[in-house]
Symmetry: C2
Subunit: 398 residues, 2 copies
């Protein structure tokens, strides 16, 4: 059975070769087709893409009423497995209390205390909330367990809703290990990693990640991060890094050196960092998380300079209870345009094609691809940033 | 018939005398009651407010599942009667084209060309979008007609959905009057104002407004604005002013001098402006519109300094096709907290109690008041800013 979707004012295919040849550079990047149509199979595969005037027949048809269709957002950086409420910490930060990563312990305690079913319900609600805002693919990290059993439990619960799971035992050094950090690194790289990969290297986690941040007493320095990432790589996991969030540091260069799929935050970069990222193009993506800068009142990274230097730039939410409890990719896009010098087209591309690449995915709309689509209550993707804060985009249910 | 609402984790009454005595200064400002209940009549009047432990019986009951309830947002500054699409102008501005008010002419042309039914459908969709984001009261300005017939038509269509209508014939000088600005001021203060007030001073418009902005060739200088406001006042309308948006100017002081209910934007203020606003406390509200600063990449006004100086500060959306096509009050609240130094409680108070006062309304939740309520998918109003960009608040349908 096949479904013909018509009434598409503008279709972003993420395939420049497929666009309708419009001169606008943003439209060229996005491979935009105006007055488009799509045929999808009812089991969710794209069968045909093109101008509506050339559309083939299908078993059924649905008119989208002049709306724009885009690839569903790929949120490649989230921490959805947590319990507890840290809104008061946010309010305190907005009146001057700085963020140093210490609040993570609050979420760790609440997450450890929650039952499996409680965590499962919280994760399901957050994934549904994201889907209602246009996100069709989500990466989920562990990292609020920080014991072997609690990290495994977090990954299992995450794995029930996505194959893009990331082992973040090295989120922070838990309080009980503060006097002996080396012992915690040994735990992460030894028993925890063994357990995560026991049933095959990527059965439970696709990647390993580390919060590399010399500016936080709770996070990991460059040497510790290297040890953790190398152990993960040896165990068959792909690599992700939280780098250069709170100040300059070794995270970005380490990620590039080790061939990580993504280094995330990139808030404080020097010239050598930008050069390393540009040289790593095609391998390591710089994933910017502007919701974090918004919610911690930090300076924004200069995405314009990164793109102009040839860096692959992705956007994600970093949805988490401490530094950014926003699950909204449209909000991240609006911030990217307002605050980081990205064009609306670059921001959409970053939140779909480039973030997908950081998860090893191809997020073009083309025959044979999964029909992971989102629809905007507006004639153009420009409205994602133009209508900041307004919920106008949702995943398209077939 | 009466309805008992329970399962309210936190109720913002906007009545400090009604709060449960919590020490938090924000909670005191908002008159917060934890574990609250409400009884409302099915024709929409609050009958009882208090702790759930003391709640009386009612004919029916509904459990809100541990959510926070707040007064519905009062959006006291919007321009909802328009047709056309200016998303490309937004995208151009984000890459460097400055805003000078000239784009208003694009909306004027499209609005004049639209049928009554087209405009009616657009307004209805925008009001519904706002209600889905927690706004229960909306002010709507004319100002994209700029002929006698088109201004009257805009006000009539606005009046079908709200009693808080504002005559903004003095939005800009329309192109056809550019060679003779005085003739347009004569039209606004003469035939247009006569027609607006023909069936009684406030039958069609509650207020008159003017875009007082010497920095725009399209808007009105201080003398022109005074002429227009004095004519409106003489005709029985209350006064509102767009002031000090694009640079320093006479708008704020003029509004205070004339006893306007509100002066809106207040982006560029000097000491004398702040002193005038503080002296006008209780009469003239400073309505801040941070979505405009976001969408025009302007500096934000310093709300903290205004509040500390004793100024009444309100928040509104300015939903309009040019400088801010966001209808989201939660977004304005998040910006107020991130960018303007307001506490979450001050921002919520500004978007409900103070914005209501600028429309001559009392927006407390108390017996005898209209049950204009919104419910948050979270246990506390703090989540409005904490969860920036996420649609978690909606008007409560009784």
């Amino acid at each position: 059975m096949s479904l013909l979707l018509t009434g598409i004012s503008e279709l972003t295919t993420n395939d420049p070769a497929r666009g309708d040849g419009h001169a606008d550079p943003g439209d060229a990047l996005l491979g935009v087709i105006r007055d488009a149509a799509l045929v999808v199979s009812t089991d969710g595969v794209v069968e045909w893409v093109g101008p509506v005037a050339e559309a083939p027949d299908a078993d059924t048809r649905r008119d989208l009423g002049g709306r724009a269709v885009i690839p569903g957002f790929v949120d490649s950086h989230t921490h959805l497995v947590f319990a507890g409420d840290r809104s008061a910490e946010f309010a305190a930060r907005m009146t001057g209390t700085p963020y140093d990563g210490g609040g993570i312990a609050v979420s760790v305690a609440a997450t450890r205390a929650a039952s499996d079913d409680e965590l499962r319900a919280l994760v399901a609600a957050r994934v549904a909330e994201m889907r209602a805002q246009g996100t069709t693919t989500v990466e989920i990290k562990s990292g609020y367990g920080l014991t072997l059993d609690d990290e495994l439990r977090s990954l299992r619960i995450a794995r029930e809703v996505t194959s893009h799971t990331t082992f973040l035992g090295a989120h922070v050094v838990p309080r009980e290990y503060a006097p002996d950090r080396a012992a915690y690194v040994d735990l992460v790289t030894g028993p925890m990693l063994d357990a995560v990969t026991a049933d095959g290297p990527t059965t439970l986690a696709e990647s390993i990640d580390v919060f590399c941040e010399p500016h936080s007493a709770h996070a990991f320095d460059g040497d510790e991060a290297r040890t953790i990432l190398e152990a993960g790589r040896a165990a068959g996991l792909s690599l992700r890094v939280h780098g250069n969030q709170l100040g300059p540091g070794p995270g970005v260069r380490l990620a590039c050196e080790l061939g990580a799929r993504s280094v995330d935050h990139c808030t404080f970069l020097d010239e050598a960092d930008v050069e390393a990222l540009a040289a790593a193009r095609g391998t390591t993506v710089a994933t910017l998380l502007p919701g974090v800068e918004f919610s911690t009142r930090s300076p924004y990274p200069d995405a314009r300079a990164l793109i102009d230097a040839g860096v692959d730039v992705a956007l994600a939410s970093d949805c988490n209870p401490g530094t950014c409890y926003s699950s909204s990719i449209p909000f991240a896009i609006a911030l990217a345009v307002r605050e980081m010098g990205m064009t609306p087209a670059e921001a959409l591309h970053a939140a779909t094609a480039v973030s997908a690449r950081s998860l090893g995915l191809d997020r073009r709309i083309a025959p044979g691809q999964p029909a992971e689509l989102a629809v905007i209550d507006a004639p153009s993707h420009l409205h994602l940033a133009y209508r900041a804060g307004v919920p106008i985009v949702r995943a398209l249910d077939l």
